[in-house]
């Protein structure tokens, strides 16, 4: 009898491909979510105003964006990250060959992969909504969505938002796996934070400040850097929790 000594990279690759294959239901749900969002988006502009001039000119301004699609996709990403930590998804690796470290690295790779896919499809769906409005609703676009730099910026920031959401989901899921009390604690913190932010108003308090500091950062490089640091902190914490986790069936 000789013992098999496998290369880590080899197992990582098999794990990653296994996840892509066996979690295909996630992609089906992504398509459904985005189709649903597109139907909502088709009903009209997100916000609009009109200007009447004295005379024969009347201008309607509306935002035809993929914002609803982006919103839906972000929620989907959050749920996907959460799902990855549930018994059914997390424990199945251990029926094959893995370690807790490798499983989690494979999970991270998987979350990056679905974030890329989610970003691209959301971008396409957004473009589709704008095209439909241009062709069927007599809308003239003021911005040109086909400027490469704008497009890349949009794709890049959407990717970071989506990855951020999946990692938040993953992190919360891991906390819940660590102890069920987090099912109550985390939503309580979340709601509490929002209530606090609303109560304090838009002024200078920690919560709104950090929201503006991170999410509303308008310089892309700074934004990506901040998101990257946050993602790292969340994932490393989840990783450390997962490293000690026992396999439940």
């Amino acid at each position: 009898m000789s013992l098999a000594n496998l290369k880590k990279s080899e197992i990582l690759q098999i794990l990653f491909l296994f996840k892509l294959k066996s979690y295909s239901a996630l992609f089906t749900s992504l398509i459904l979510v985005q189709i649903l969002a597109m139907l909502f988006s088709l009903s009209g502009p997100i916000s609009s105003g009109s200007f009447g001039f004295s005379g024969p000119i009347h201008v309607n301004i509306g935002y035809y964006t993929g914002d609803i699609i982006v919103g839906f996709t972000l929620v989907w990403g959050f749920v996907a990250g959460l799902l990855l930590t549930t018994k059914k998804y997390y424990m199945v690796d251990f029926l094959f060959v893995t370690t807790r470290k490798m499983s989690q690295v494979a999970n991270l790779l998987f979350l990056v992969a679905i974030s890329i896919i989610g970003t691209l499809t959301a971008q396409l769906a957004g473009g589709f909504i704008q095209s439909v409005n241009v062709f069927f609703n007599d809308v003239k676009l003021v911005t040109n969505p086909l400027i490469i730099s704008e497009l890349l910026l949009s794709i890049g920031s959407l990717f970071f938002y989506l990855l951020f959401m999946t990692i938040i989901g993953y992190f919360i899921g891991m906390c819940v796996q660590l102890h069920k009390v987090f099912i109550i604690v985390l939503p309580a913190i979340f709601v509490g934070t929002i209530v606090q932010a609303v109560r304090l108003g838009d002024g200078y308090n920690f919560i709104t400040k950090s929201y503006y500091f991170i999410i509303q950062e308008s310089i892309f490089v700074l934004f990506s850097l901040k998101i990257f640091v946050l993602i790292t902190i969340l994932f490393v914490t989840a990783f450390l929790i997962g490293k000690r986790m026992e396999v439940q069936q």
Binding site: M1, S2, L3, A4, N5, L6, K8, I11, I14, F18, K21, S22, Y23, S24, A25, K87, K88, M91, V92, F94, L95, F96, V97, T98, T99, R100, K101, M102, K243, R244, E246, V247, Q249
Partner: protein, 298 residues
């Protein structure tokens, strides 16, 4: 080489100790039966060996590494029970193929032949299988993976007798073709006895005995006859089990440390010597001290 080595192994769930001070070694290329009553700690022990659960104290080595989070141990160990869960998105054939990618020794030919023999269809789903069928399918994975350390925890749950017999035969056949270390827990000791080379008998989370099957077969025998004669005989012997069947008659199982002369004397005294089956012996040894079910019901 010792495949599994436990030294002072402990596992606690909350404050309850499920495994207590366990020390044993499993030799390479043996089939060992993990035998014990419900709740003795069989599954807990196997799950720690599989690297699923972390020991609370003590040392546990599998292939000289701690199995919790060892890639080498994971690649060379497979754990099979009736709780295995595979993704709903994969059909049975895809599950086999997935296993083939992970396990370097996987034998697809064997898997296919067993798959067809037991009447599985490629596009069936794991969760749709009946209990017995699921166990059968899991067993195929356990055999075809040909892992140097194969752990079967109650592998025959739900299987009918014919399938169980097929399984035992397949196990023995493939073990000879590809020797490996197999740990098998089952409460059907009678059925698996012909497969076993060693028995690890556990009770209340402790190792009661770790012996070869041959040693255990000679470990004890039953004395049957007059109560007073037998009682005087057993004064200095360690009694494993006794049962009075009439006011004068008694059946006693004692540890076999009798000399040739004593045997001859026993027979001269009109006491019948009876062999004790491995199954009965294990039941007697793991019996709780305070009587049997009859005492509770009467």
């Amino acid at each position: 080489m010792q495949i599994v080595k436990a030294d002072g192994l402990e596992k606690k769930f909350g404050s309850k100790k499920v495994i207590e001070q366990m020390s044993f070694e499993i030799k390479e290329e043996t089939i060992t039966g993990i035998i014990g009553r419900n709740g003795a700690g069989k599954t807990t022990l196997l799950k720690m060996i599989a690297g699923f659960w972390r020991p609370s104290a003590g040392e546990l080595l599998v292939f000289n590494e701690e199995p919790f989070d060892s890639l080498m141990a994971s690649a060379n160990t497979i754990y099979i029970d009736d709780q295995l869960y595979y993704p709903d998105t994969l059909n049975l054939k895809q599950i086999l193929q997935q296993n083939a990618q992970f396990y370097p020794n996987w034998n697809m030919d064997l898997a296919d032949r067993l798959f067809n023999y037991f009447g599985f269809e490629a596009n069936q789903r794991h969760y749709q299988l009946s209990k017995g069928k699921r166990s059968t399918f899991n067993m195929i994975i356990g055999l075809a993976a040909r892992c140097p350390l194969t752990l079967f925890d109650e592998p025959t749950t739900g299987m009918d007798e014919a399938v169980r017999k097929d399984f035992y035969q397949a196990l023995l056949h493939d073990y000879i073709a590809f020797p490996r270390t197999i740990l098998l827990s089952s409460h059907l000791l009678q059925e698996i006895e012909p497969l076993l080379e060693e028995v690890l008998l556990i009770k209340d989370g402790k190792v009661l005995m770790h012996e070869s099957v041959d040693t255990l077969k000679d470990y004890a025998f039953g004395l049957h006859g007059d109560r007073d004669t037998i009682t005087s005989w057993c004064a200095n012997k360690s009694i494993i089990y006794q049962k009075a069947y009439s006011s004068e008659g008694i059946y006693v199982v004692v540890q076999n440390d009798f000399t040739e002369r004593e045997f001859a004397q026993l027979q001269a005294d009109g006491i019948k010597l009876l062999p004790v089956s491995l199954n009965d012996l294990c039941i007697y040894l793991t019996n709780p001290k305070n009587g049997g079910i009859v005492d509770v019901l009467s």
